[in-house]
C-alpha cells in the first residue's frame, strides 16, 4: 500500500519535472473522468481472482450491457432509468452464466470466460449489426461528463462508493470471508461447510454487474454503444489487479490497493498523453509493466520463503541443542 502510494507520488514528481502541464488542474480533472471506467472493471477482475479464477469476459459483458441499455433507451423513448436497469440485469445474467459453468460444471474459469467474452461480444455485434448505436438522448452524457456541484465527477463518486461497498463486502461480511477461504483452498472450504457453488455464482454475478456499471459509463462517455469499445481494458484490468497485490492463485486481495493501482495506471496513461506518445506505446508499456510486476513479486516471494526457511532451520537447530 505504501509502496503503491510512493509510486503514484513518484510518477507525479517525474512528470512535474518533465512537463509542468501535467500538474494543471484540468489534467487531473480529465483523469478523474477517465479512470472509473476501467477501475470498476478491475474490481470485477479482483473479485474473480480472489475466488481463484479470472474473468476475461468483462469487456464483452460491459459492451453487451451498454448495447442493451442503448436499445432499451431508444425503444422506450428516452427512459434512461429503465435502460440502466436492463444493463445491470444483462450484466448479472452474463455473470451468472459464467458462474454456473465454473461452479456447477467445474470448467476452468479461464476457458469459460475466454469463450464467454467471445459469446457476449458476438451477441452485442448481432444486436448492433456492426455499426455503433447512436442517437441517444443528451441526458445520458451526464453520467460520465457531469459533476456534483462542479467538483466531484459522478463517475468518480460512483467509483468511490463501489470501492467502499466492496471493501465492506470483503472485510465485514460472511460472503467476503467465504470468498477468501474458497480462493485459498477450495477443497478445504468445501469440507468446512462453505457452499462453493453459491460463492462462485455470487462472485461472478457481482463481477458481471460491475462490468455492466462500467458498460454504462462507457456508453455515457462515447454517447454511443458498440461491441468493440474498450478492447484494451482486459489487459489493463488484469495489470491493475496484479499491481494491486491480488494473488493470481487466489485468496488474497485488498480493495484499497486495487483502487490505488487503478489511479497509478491512469497517471501513467495521462503522462503518455501529455508526452504525446501514441496508443501503441501504451500497449507495449502495459505488457512490460505486467511482466516486471509479476517477476518482482515472484522474486520477493522466493526471498520471503527462503527467509522463513532459514529461520525455521535455525529454530530447529536451537531446539536440538537444547
Amino acid at each position: 500500500m505504501l509502496a503503491l502510494f510512493g509510486i503514484a507520488l513518484g510518477i507525479i514528481a517525474i512528470m512535474a519535472f518533465a512537463d509542468p502541464a501535467f500538474l494543471k488542474g484540468s489534467n487531473f480533472r480529465s483523469m478523474a473522468f477517465q479512470f472509473p471506467e476501467f477501475g470498476i472493471l478491475s474490481f470485477g477482475m479482483m473479485l474473480c481472482m480472489i475466488s481463484g479464477g479470472i474473468d476475461l469476459s468483462l469487456v464483452g459483458a460491459a459492451n453487451l450491457s451498454g448495447i442493451v441499455a442503448a436499445v432499451v433507451i431508444l425503444s422506450t423513448g428516452g427512459s434512461i432509468a429503465v435502460g440502466i436497469a436492463a444493463a445491470l440485469l444483462v450484466g448479472a445474467v452474463c455473470g451468472l452464466f459464467n458462474g454456473y459453468l465454473i461452479g456447477q460444471l467445474q470448467i476452468p474459469a479461464m476457458l469459460v470466460t475466454l469463450c464467454g467474452g467471445q459469446l457476449f461480444t458476438g451477441l452485442g455485434m448481432a444486436i448492433t449489426k456492426g455499426p455503433a448505436i447512436t442517437g441517444l438522448p443528451e441526458q445520458i452524457l451526464v453520467l460520465s461528463n457531469g459533476t456534483v456541484g462542479g467538483v466531484l465527477p459522478y463517475a468518480l463518486l460512483l467509483f468511490i462508493l463501489i470501492a467502499l461497498a466492496l471493501g465492506f463486502l470483503l472485510k465485514s461480511t460472511v460472503y467476503g470471508q467465504h470468498l477468501c477461504l474458497m480462493g485459498s483452498n477450495p477443497t478445504a472450504s468445501r469440507y468446512s461447510g462453505i457452499n462453493n457453488l453459491h460463492v462462485t455464482l455470487l462472485t461472478y454475478m457481482t463481477s458481471g454487474i460491475l462490468a455492466a456499471v462500467s458498460g454504462i459509463l462507457i456508453l455515457s462517455h462515447y454517447g454511443s454503444a458498440k461491441s468493440d469499445y474498450g478492447m484494451s481494458y482486459t489487459l489493463l484490468s488484469l495489470l491493475i489487479v496484479v499491481l494491486g497485490g491480488v494473488a493470481p492463485a487466489g485468496g488474497r486481495g485488498r480493495v484499497s490497493c486495487v483502487a490505488l493501482s487503478a489511479v497509478i495506471l491512469q497517471l501513467i496513461s495521462s503522462a503518455f498523453n501529455v508526452l504525446r506518445f501514441n496508443s501503441f506505446v501504451k500497449t507495449f508499456v502495459w505488457g512490460l509493466l505486467l511482466v516486471i510486476v509479476m517477476v518482482a513479486q515472484s522474486v520477493i516471494q522466493k526471498e520471503a520463503y527462503q527467509f522463513l526457511n532459514i529461520r525455521r532451520k535455525n529454530y530447529e537447530k536451537d531446539h536440538q541443542q537444547a
Binding site: I107, C115, L119, T121, G122, M125, L238, A249, F284, G287
Partner: protein
C-alpha cells in the same frame, strides 16, 4: 476392421468430433450442393494450414499444464520484422526469411520460458504480458501500416502448387506446397509426444508437476524447451502466413488465439493438462474452420457469425470438459 469398431473407439472424443463434422458437412451440402467438391477440400486445407501449426504448439503447451495466448502477437512481430528487415537490406533469400522469422519467434518463446519456468508466473498472465509487449512493439515499429512488397524469390513460393483441379464451372483451385509443413509437423509432434522421453515428460508435467519432478523429469528444462520450440515453430508459421497472404500485416492475426484454444479443447485436449492428441487437435481445427468458413452458406448473416462461433465453442468446450470430468471421477481399477 472389427478391432477398430469397438464401443470404446466409437465413443472416443475424436470420434465425436468426426460425427459432428460429418453432420455439419451433410447440412452444408444439403443447402449448397457445390460444397462436396475437390475445391472445398483444397480451400479448407488452405485456410487450416497456419491454424493447424498454431494449434499443435498450443496443444503441446496445454498438455504441459500451461497456456499460450501470445502466439498471434509473436507471429505478427516475427513476420513483419522479417519482411521489413529484408526489404530494408535488400536480402532476397527464402532460407534467410524462414531462419530470421524462426529466430525472432524463438527469442519471444525464450522470454515466455523464462517467465513461466524460471519465475513461475501463471502461464496465462505471463503470455498476456508477452502478447502485449510483442504486439505493442510491432505496432510502434510499423505504425499500423502493412507492407505489400515481399522480396520476389520469397513471394514466388506462394505460386508453387502441388496440384490443381478445375471444377465444372471453370474455377481452378490449387493446393499450395506449404500444406506439407503442417503435415510434417503433425507427424513430428505425434512422434515426439508419443515416442520420446521428452514428450512423455510433457504429459507427466501436465498431469502433476510435483509427481513428474519426483519421478525424475526435469520440469524446468522440459518447460524451457517446450516454450522455445513453440516460439520457433510459430515464427516459421508466421512467415508462411505472410507468404500465403502476400503481404506483411502487423495485426491481422491478433485475436486468433481464441479460435485456436477452442479448436484444441474441442479436439479433446484437457485445459487442465495431461491429455491430448494430434489427431484430435487436427479434427478440432477442421471443425472450427468448417464452421467459420461455411456459416455464410447456411445463410447465417454476417453480424451473427461471432456469436455463432462463440456458441459452438462454448458448447464444444463444455462437452469435452464435462466428459473429462466424468472420466476423472469414474472408478479406476
Amino acid at each position: 476392421m472389427g478391432r477398430f469398431l469397438t464401443r470404446k473407439n466409437l465413443t472416443r472424443n475424436e470420434m465425436l468430433v468426426v460425427y459432428i463434422i460429418a453432420a455439419l458437412s451433410l447440412m452444408i451440402g444439403a443447402v449448397n450442393s457445390a460444397f462436396f467438391s475437390m475445391g472445398t477440400v483444397i480451400d479448407t486445407a488452405r485456410s487450416m494450414l497456419v491454424t493447424v501449426i498454431f494449434a499443435l504448439c498450443e496443444m503441446a503447451i496445454i498438455i504441459s499444464g500451461g497456456i499460450d495466448v501470445s502466439f498471434p502477437a509473436i507471429a505478427c512481430f516475427s513476420l513483419y520484422s522479417t519482411i521489413a528487415f529484408m526489404n530494408a537490406y535488400h536480402i532476397d533469400s527464402v532460407a534467410f526469411a524462414f531462419f530470421f522469422s524462426g529466430f525472432l519467434g524463438l527469442l519471444w518463446g525464450a522470454l515466455n520460458a523464462i517467465l513461466i519456468a524460471k519465475f513461475r508466473i501463471p502461464a496465462l498472465i505471463a503470455t498476456l504480458g508477452t502478447s502485449s509487449l510483442a504486439s505493442g512493439a510491432i505496432l510502434v515499429i510499423s505504425g499500423g501500416k502493412e507492407i505489400s512488397m515481399i522480396p520476389p524469390s520469397v513471394d514466388a513460393l506462394s505460386q508453387q502448387f502441388l496440384f490443381s483441379v478445375t471444377n465444372a464451372s471453370g474455377v481452378k483451385s490449387s493446393l499450395t506446397v506449404f500444406i506439407l509443413l503442417p503435415a510434417a509437423l503433425c507427424l513430428l509432434f505425434h512422434f515426439v509426444l508419443r515416442h520420446t522421453m521428452f514428450g512423455r515428460g510433457i504429459y507427466a508435467i501436465g498431469g502433476d508437476a510435483d509427481a513428474a519432478r519426483i519421478e525424475g523429469f526435469n520440469v524446468f528444462r522440459t518447460q524451457c524447451i517446450l516454450y522455445m520450440a513453440a516460439g520457433l515453430i510459430i515464427g516459421i508459421a508466421a512467415i508462411t502466413h505472410a507468404i500465403l497472404m502476400r503481404n506483411a500485416n502487423p495485426s491481422n492475426l491478433m485475436g486468433s488465439e481464441m479460435m485456436v484454444i477452442a479448436a484444441v479443447v474441442i479436439g479433446g485436449t484437457r485445459i487442465t493438462g495431461g491429455h491430448g492428441s494430434v489427431v484430435g487437435t487436427v479434427l478440432g481445427v477442421l471443425l472450427i474452420t468448417l464452421v467459420s468458413n461455411n456459416l455464410i452458406m447456411l445463410n447465417v448473416p454476417n453480424y451473427w457469425q461471432t456469436f455463432a462461433v462463440g456458441l459452438i465453442i462454448v458448447i464444444g468446450t463444455s462437452i469435452t470438459s464435462l466428459r473429462a470430468k466424468r472420466i476423472a471421477l469414474s472408478p479406476k481399477i
